[in-house]
């Protein structure tokens, strides 16, 4: 990996706060923070609700909590099924009776149990009473509408942040505990709510609380299949002949907490899967609780004591998994795993071992207090001396472009398309280990060509660029290299000058 900065001169601290820790400078930001860059970073950590996206903010009126969002998705899914059944029946009148006897059409006679919020939210898909003869293709699916509203809220928040350190922490944890909207409609409808409900409230709180909120969230339970996992000796297991699914249990140990190779065994995975049985979501009929909400289903929980990592967790329903999660949340292997990831994300692809060890120590000493961990990170000399050599991830790159050049179209479509093209579609990682955090992964041949295309498209959209040289001073500052300065100043147009700035190593690397 080449290190672009020459010699061992430490990088400009204002560039460090905006590139290494933040989301890039907006015009005017650098001047405001030049006096005390570290102070501005620390100040973000002291603001109590800085990570939250408030429901009472009129800008976010389109957002739903995960429960109503999932209800809306279930209602829409039910309606789609109904429409398909009717279409089929209309096409084959002679056979209309046959499907009616099977599962597909039987719920027609039963009014779905739907709380008011869901009915309201699902109105665009058509109310159950007024069943249209033909499907109405003009309305986008409710899941897509929710996804775009959530995306818009995330982009807005990125644009409004002063430095964006806490937003970066949100993205870090959201990727650590990732879900994928490619899984199904339930996750597509609730992925944004998942981040607002299970990640944002805890980024400056306790790791154990975030872990608990994540693992019981319907989006995670669906993404990693736990809602279907049934204890083989539970009542449901015996009746329905369903059984264990160890997907969530394995990824909690491997990815969310201890880390692979930290000493747990296949027997631990299976045992933990048993402990996690019963953590599920209430279905559309509402038999287990409010539809779309997270519930503990005692009937599906594997009875009896269970051993995990050599410790026996006595039978105790939902408390069994809570006790296990609380223990592994503060396990030394978890501290080491989180410290490594955090240092890799914020310092360098191959973080110094000493830095990792210090972060792990802070994690353990403060029982996983994430505010203390974030403060320790910005207190480390390595954070201010290591060259800015990592590549900005696609989301950080798109956010930095918007912050430098203005918000862009009023609709998240273009930014979402850019993320797709760059290989980091929002809330759609390729696997439960999330998107890569290795800089080289984002400096691929195809990726760089697409960054060039995007930089050009973005530069053309900015209405009033002013002088690109002033823009360079405002966004990168005095440490911009002479070559970058010259390239921008010699550009053949303002648009080309801005595109060169957006492609400059000082803008790509962090």
């Amino acid at each position: 990996m080449a290190i672009p900065a020459k010699g061992s001169v430490p990088p400009d601290p204002v560039l460090v706060i905006f590139n290494r820790f933040g989301l890039g400078a907006r015009p005017g930001d650098r001047d405001r923070m030049a006096g005390d860059p570290r102070g501005y970073l620390k100040a973000e950590l002291r603001q109590p609700d800085i990570a939250m996206i408030a429901y009472d903010d009129p800008a976010y009126a389109d957002l739903l909590g995960s429960t109503p969002a999932i209800q809306a998705s279930m209602a829409a899914g039910f309606q789609r099924k109904l429409d398909r059944g009717l279409a089929k029946a209309a096409a084959q009148p002679a056979k209309a009776k046959a499907p009616a006897a099977t599962g597909a059409a039987s719920p027609i006679s039963t009014a779905p149990a739907m709380p008011s919020a869901a009915v309201k939210a699902s109105a665009p898909a058509g109310s159950p009473q007024a069943v249209p003869a033909k499907p109405t293709p003009a309305t986008p699916p409710v899941e897509a509408t929710l996804y775009r509203a959530e995306a818009q809220a995330r982009f807005d928040k990125a644009l409004r942040a002063e430095v964006g350190f806490v937003e970066r922490l949100v993205y870090f944890w959201s990727n650590h505990f990732c879900v994928s909207v490619a899984k199904d409609n339930i996750v597509r409808a609730s992925a944004g709510a998942f981040e607002r409900e299970a990640i944002r409230p805890f980024v400056l709180g306790r790791f154990a609380d975030m872990l608990m909120a994540v693992e019981r969230h319907p989006a995670m339970l669906f993404y990693l299949d736990n809602q279907q996992s049934v204890g083989p000796d539970s009542r449901a297991g015996k009746n329905r002949q369903r059984g264990l699914n160890e997907n969530l249990a394995r990824e909690i140990l491997e990815l969310h907490t201890l880390g692979v190779g930290s000493g747990y065994t296949q027997a631990d995975v299976t045992s933990f899967a048993r402990i996690m049985t019963g953590w599920t979501m209430a279905g559309r009929e509402g038999r287990l609780g409010e539809p779309g909400s997270s519930v503990f289903n005692a009937n599906a929980h594997e009875p009896g004591d269970a051993v995990l990592l050599g410790k026996t967790y006595p039978a105790g329903g939902v408390g069994q998994a809570e006790a296990a999660l609380n223990d592994i949340a503060i396990h030394p292997a978890t501290a080491q795993h989180i410290a490594t990831q955090l240092a890799r994300h914020f310092i360098s692809d191959d973080p110094p071992a000493a830095a990792v060890a210090r972060l792990a120590k802070v994690f353990l000493k403060n029982s996983g207090n994430l505010r203390a961990l974030a403060a320790a990170l910005i207190g480390m000399p390595e954070a201010w001396s290591t060259p800015l050599a990592k590549m900005r991830s696609p989301f950080d790159y798109v956010a930095a472009i918007r912050r430098a050049g203005g918000p862009g179209p009023n609709d998240p479509g273009q930014s979402l398309n850019w993320l797709n093209a760059l290989g980091e579609p929002l809330w759609q990682p390729p696997g439960p280990n999330g998107f890569s955090d290795q800089g080289d992964n984002w400096a691929s041949a195809e990726g760089m060509k697409i960054r060039l295309d995007i930089a050009w498209q973005a530069a053309q959209q900015v209405k009033d660029i002013g002088n690109p040289n002033d823009m360079l001073d405002a966004v990168i500052g005095p440490s911009a290299s002479p070559e970058t300065r010259q390239a921008v100043s010699r550009a053949e147009s303002k648009q080309q000058g801005l595109a060169l700035l957006l492609m400059a190593p000082e803008f790509q690397r962090r």
């Binding site: 990996m1 080449a2 490619a182 299949d225 279907q228 996992s229 049934v230 297991g237 369903r242 059984g243 264990l244 699914n245 160890e246 997907n247 394995r250 491997e254 692979v260 190779g261 296949q266 995975v269 273009q414 398309n417 850019w418 797709n420 093209a421 579609p425 759609q428 390729p430 696997g431 439960p432 280990n433 890569s436 290795q438 992964n441 984002w442 400096a443 691929s444 041949a445 195809e446 990726g447 760089m448 060509k449 697409i450 060039l452 295309d453 995007i454 050009w456 290299s481 070559e483 970058t484 390239a487 550009a491 053949e492 147009s493 080309q496 595109a499 060169l500 400059a504 190593p505 690397r509």
Partner: protein, 412 residues
């Protein structure tokens, strides 16, 4: 959601080259044919997420198969009957092209295969599969790239380099040997000399980005030279969807078929982690297998004359449990299949030292026991297609694997 934008496709760009082409290899004149008139190519498809080999190629003749694989077991009877390969194995009915190639002796299966990795982490398993190292923890270079590097200087295959398909380069082909990146794209191309100016800046300030961007522009230019229609390149949905796999193969085939195009290529398709409602002859896995089958078919079509010199191999990090789990899916396992196709493959064979599926025969009483090493298959292909020696393969390409002998006679 589609992988790429829905922006209308512009006319393909003209790329201005700065002085001193970084990648002279991309501009070499066409090569004369080798004396034997063979011009071998190797395409590696990585299926990430762990393919259920028992649902891709079912041992329908094994008396214990149907009981273990339950409702999703393949069967030779019924509405979605599996396609028989020999008296014992049958391929998933979602793969008619593969079955046809098998009959024409242009496709083969290695069953009950696994790498040397025996844990069940996807990510470590993928790292082992793609890096070619004996254990996890090596993520800088992949075995396919090191194979290119190990070829003698001036060798045609080494000179032409590799091709990585998709927005990011799969580990298997990462490394020092030159690799061209390509993915279907549909953003408006920058006008004027912006690409040249950015390249010039990178050459002075950031050589790593200079190399990457130059390669990206080169790939685009090659696609342009082949006059690929804008419509044909535009994926309708993500790279990992059935249509996306087909389109990735379509585009890659054009680049690989070119006389001065790369001779080795790597593609990675995600999404094979079927814990829930995996489906058997129909359903989720069958849809994915249909996409893979479509990719084989597109390669056959797109490579044209060059198909006869081509070997395609599809590999995955490990298999899945032999017994279905509580949610009509399968959990992480061990033994699985390797699929081979191409005119260069000595096909029509399922190569397997079948371990059996009785409880005591299963690995850890849960997975199909591995009796073939995936590395042996890969080594065999590299030896026969490109003439790499067992010593180089066992030392440099697959470090510390001297004990794993290349599986020979895979190639016509």
């Amino acid at each position: 959601m589609s992988l790429l934008c829905e922006t209308p496709h512009p006319s393909r760009r003209a790329v201005l080259m700065t002085g001193g082409a970084l990648f002279a290899w991309a501009y070499l004149p066409r090569f004369a044919r080798a004396t034997d008139n063979r011009d071998p190519r190797l395409i590696v498809i990585v299926l990430r997420g762990a393919l259920d080999g028992l649902s891709a190629v079912g041992p329908v003749g094994d008396p214990d198969y149907a009981g273990l694989h339950g409702d999703i077991a393949l069967s030779l009877s019924g509405p979605h009957a599996a396609l028989p390969l020999d008296g014992f194995f049958a391929v998933n009915p979602a793969m008619p092209a593969f079955a046809r190639l098998f009959k024409a002796n242009q496709a083969a299966v290695v069953h009950a295969a696994a790498t040397g990795y025996r844990e069940r982490s996807h990510f470590d398993g993928q790292d082992v599969l793609e890096s070619g190292f004996a254990g996890p923890g090596h993520v800088a270079t992949g075995w396919l790239n090191r194979a290119l590097e190990s070829l003698p200087a001036g060798d045609r295959v080494a000179t032409l380099g590799g091709l990585a398909v998709g927005p990011s380069t799969p580990l298997v082909i990462r490394g020092a040997a030159p690799v061209l990146g390509w993915a279907p794209q549909s953003l408006p191309a920058p006008s004027g000399d912006l690409p040249a100016r950015v390249l010039d800046l990178y050459q002075h300030r950031d050589p790593v980005l200079a190399v990457a961007l130059q390669k990206g522009l080169d790939a685009d230019r090659m696609a342009l030279d082949d006059q690929m229609g804008a419509k044909a390149m535009k994926p309708r949905s993500g790279l990992d969807s059935a249509a996306g796999m087909r389109q990735a193969a379509q585009g890659a085939a054009r680049l690989i078929a070119a006389d001065d195009g790369p001779r080795v290529a790597a593609l990675a398709f995600d999404g094979w982690d079927t814990h829930v409602n995996e489906g058997g002859a129909t359903g989720r896995l069958a849809t994915l297998l249909g996409g893979l089958d479509g990719a084989f078919e597109e390669f056959e079509k797109g490579l044209g004359e060059r198909w006869k010199d081509t070997a395609i191999i599809a590999i995955t990090e490990f298999g899945r449990t032999a017994r279905i789990n509580g949610t009509v899916g399968t959990d992480h396992g061990t033994g699985t299949v390797v699929l081979l196709a191409g005119g260069a493959i000595k096909g029509g064979r399922v190569i397997a030292d079948w371990p059996g599926l009785k409880p005591a025969q299963l690995y850890q009483q849960r997975d199909l026991a591995p009796t073939s090493d995936v590395r042996a298959v890969l080594k065999g292909l590299l030896a026969e297609q490109f003439g790499l020696s067992a010593a180089v393969l066992g030392d440099k390409v697959f470090p510390d694997s001297g004990a794993v002998k290349p599986m020979m006679n895979l190639v016509v």
